[in-house]
Symmetry: C3
Subunit: 346 residues, 3 copies
């Protein structure tokens, strides 16, 4: 990580649009969490949950909401501490300077088009007909296949694979090991063997998407698999062929989405969730970790469990399960007592 | 993807062995699904589920079963629309022409043997003693370790790792990021530390196998881990050391198989299934998505759930779980009413 | 795998510190399991479970515990057959000779420091400011980022990615495809879009750690993600940002650990376990396969299920679940019978 600074509290107040309570000339050299920050560092209070840590912090200054109280030292009051934290981190850790150019050990095939402001790392391969946009960085050992396009200001980390026929938008970030555009998993059993169904579609990764390390997004059988604008995909996620992920969706690590699913905009799939093929997840729906989803989920609802159910119902079932072993014994006892009563009655 | 065509309906009828109802001179330029195909494209009706889409399609022609009715335009009637679709896709998207030869930026070590009809991409590494068969393609940035063998007509996509001592058969396809032959996960705790058990076996990938992106198949401790002829493995699957996967098995994305398991031929493990070590899955058994399998599964049966049970039983349990919270209340009520009756009786 | 030998039983007895019952001059050429070993091979009896296989083995000799009985041929008696097996495997399959030096097709940037006893493979990239220790091997196509350090006697297999700002200890093994130090998954939703929280921390992999193929260990937001000394991590595991994994922990394949978790020393997380963020797993705790862990687990306990519970409780629930569908019917019957009794009473 690059490192910048130190900055004075006055400079930080200006950069953050903050109201400063403290000495504007005091310098700080870095950002640290409340519990580990020292007098030379600035820290941040993101939630009232951390109030006690804030009261005990040794930080030289704390970025805090307008109504925070009880802070021991200098305070930078802001409307949104989380937004301010992003600004702070960018200030102390700016992007490394952009160094355009194709590394002499990269291989850019004839007929590929790399913008002169783009950077291509050593042992990267840009195949024929591929295009790389302005200020885009292609990491070392990364592969961009025939006819694929990568937009502007996009960052492909080292050792990404973009196969042929894939469109990657602008301001996209793809982490190491991700594979975009491998064949979807499609076969027809002809009675003797699984015959491969050619996967001749592509993948479209829209603008402002981020894709995690070792994640796989398969190409469509016909037509494109789509990851919509602004969606964020964590590590080791599987997105099957012909899925259509909406905008600003969140797919947490190890989520698996079968083929031809539609994931609504702003939906959140927590870690290890699995979704069966042809399922629609409504806009803004939330699936809790490890949920198994065999059928459609309505917009805006929270579901969990395997098979998944509305979360309130899932919680009631989980609570009742604890009582189940005893319940079996209680029913057996009831049966005996009732039998006794009936016997006497008769 | 390569693109070929256009073809006339007459040419297609001949290629598919189809009976044509329509103008044999009419040209079509591509393949598309029923809902998006235009007059210049041919589409396909794979199942009666899509009958309505077929009746409303704008496609120039539809490949359909012999007994299909209600189709608005030209029809190509075939015995198996799915087999015909494979032929169609290969016709419009033929494999790119094979260009044999070792790229000048590839590294083929002394003592490696690459057939002259094979192709090796840039920055690929073929280590000493490795062999690459006829017409086999080794993608850019792919690694083939010491003494490993790759058969004929096999396709290793860019950035595959085949470690040392691995045998890959003929007509095998391995997608980017797959790692074949990493050490199995074996340690002996000696009271102070986990001591590594050397993993000195290998891996054998038999003919006609396909292995997905970022999947890992570990080498045996002693002897080989085997993926049997014709089996298809999806993305992000883990196959542990000394597993023996039979023929024509299907392992869907994110399946995890512990060490020393036997997976029967034609078994199907759906997405995210986990199998404990030393477990045998019978021939043709089916495990539904997310099943957790602690012990052997009989041949031909369908199991699901965690812990997995025969599917009929699992479904009954899942249905009954919905009633469980109310059941707890009903038993409490029964107990009170019975107590009241008993009290009166006494 | 390298191959050494043959060795006489006398030589093996000396290497293993074993008591030999048999001809010390008899040579054996390799190691094999009881069921497949031939007269030219040595085998091993690790557990009484395999007693019958041992009695029927054709092996030239068997490494066995001091008190083993009924073995048909030569026996090498040792205190710990598992430790002896490790010695045996190393003897027959020694590490290949270490060949120091930077391959002419590797790229070591100016300002990187590679010890002269280290080995760097073809198409590997060592970025500026990175350091590589004594006798360490950097595989082909592996990337070590700016300012990262790799200790002594460490083995990075081909196609590993170590991003910038990562510290890797000594005697560490990292398998192909692993990605150490990709950005953690952190965003702040500002009402319109998910804004990326810069991930400016690092990763620290301590001594004697092993990390599996295609596993991902994310860098901290601030401060380091840590994998403690001696811990072993299997394939396709996800370790989130700012996790602190203790010493000698075991993370089996496809485990997913969310951000800011603490995993106690010697804890064991079986395959496909998922842990929610900010959770603490106590020292020596065991989580069984597929457990879903929403909250802290006490030290030394065994938990399983989703949501996870103490294993004894989980087992009781799983057993009772089988009775649940019938229980629903039994309660319905009880209600009717009781109603009848009450009606008569009234």
């Amino acid at each position: 990580m690059t490192q910048s600074g130190p900055f004075t509290l006055g400079q930080l107040a200006e950069a953050l649009g903050a109201t400063l309570e403290g000495d504007p000339a005091r310098p700080v050299g870095g950002v640290a969490p409340l519990e580990s920050a020292g007098p030379n560092e600035v820290s941040f209070l993101l939630s009232r949950r951390y109030q006690r840590l804030a009261e005990e912090t040794r930080a030289g200054a704390v970025v805090a909401p307008a109504d925070a109280t009880g802070l021991p030292g200098a305070v930078l009051r802001v409307a949104s501490p989380q937004a301010a934290l992003i600004t702070l981190l960018r200030l102390f850790h700016p992007d490394p300077p952009h160094a355009p150019g194709i590394h002499p050990l990269a291989l850019v095939a004839e007929g590929a088009s790399v913008d002169e402001s783009a950077a291509v790392g050593p042992f990267a391969v840009i195949e024929t007909g591929a295009t790389v946009g302005r200020r885009t960085r292609i990491g070392a050992l990364t592969f961009v296949g025939t006819g694929s396009s990568v937009g502007d200001d996009t960052l492909l980390y080292p050792r990404v694979v973009i196969r042929d026929g894939v469109q990657v938008g602008s301001r996209v970030i793809i982490h190491p090991g991700a594979v975009i555009g491998a064949d979807g998993f499609g076969y027809a059993f002809d009675g003797a063997a699984h015959r491969k169904i050619p996967q001749v579609g592509g993948v479209r990764i829209e603008d402002d998407v981020e894709i995690g390390a070792n994640t796989t997004v398969d190409r469509g059988t016909l037509g494109d698999t789509v990851i919509g604008r602004g969606s964020k995909v964590d590590n080791l996620v599987q997105v099957g062929h012909n899925c259509d992920v909406g905008e600003d969706a969140i797919l947490v690590a190890q989520v698996g989405i079968s083929g031809s699913c539609r994931i609504g905009s702003r939906a959140i799939l927590a870690g290890q969730v699995g979704v069966a093929d042809h399922v629609t997840i409504g806009e803004g729906a939330i699936l809790v970790a490890q949920a198994g989803v065999p059928s459609d989920i309505p917009a805006g609802e929270v579901w969990g469990g395997m098979p998944s159910r509305p979360m309130a119902e899932a919680r009631r079932i989980w609570a009742a399960e604890r009582l189940l072993p005893a319940l079996v014994r209680r029913v057996r006892t009831l049966e005996k007592r009732l039998e006794e009563l009936e016997r006497r009655r008769a």
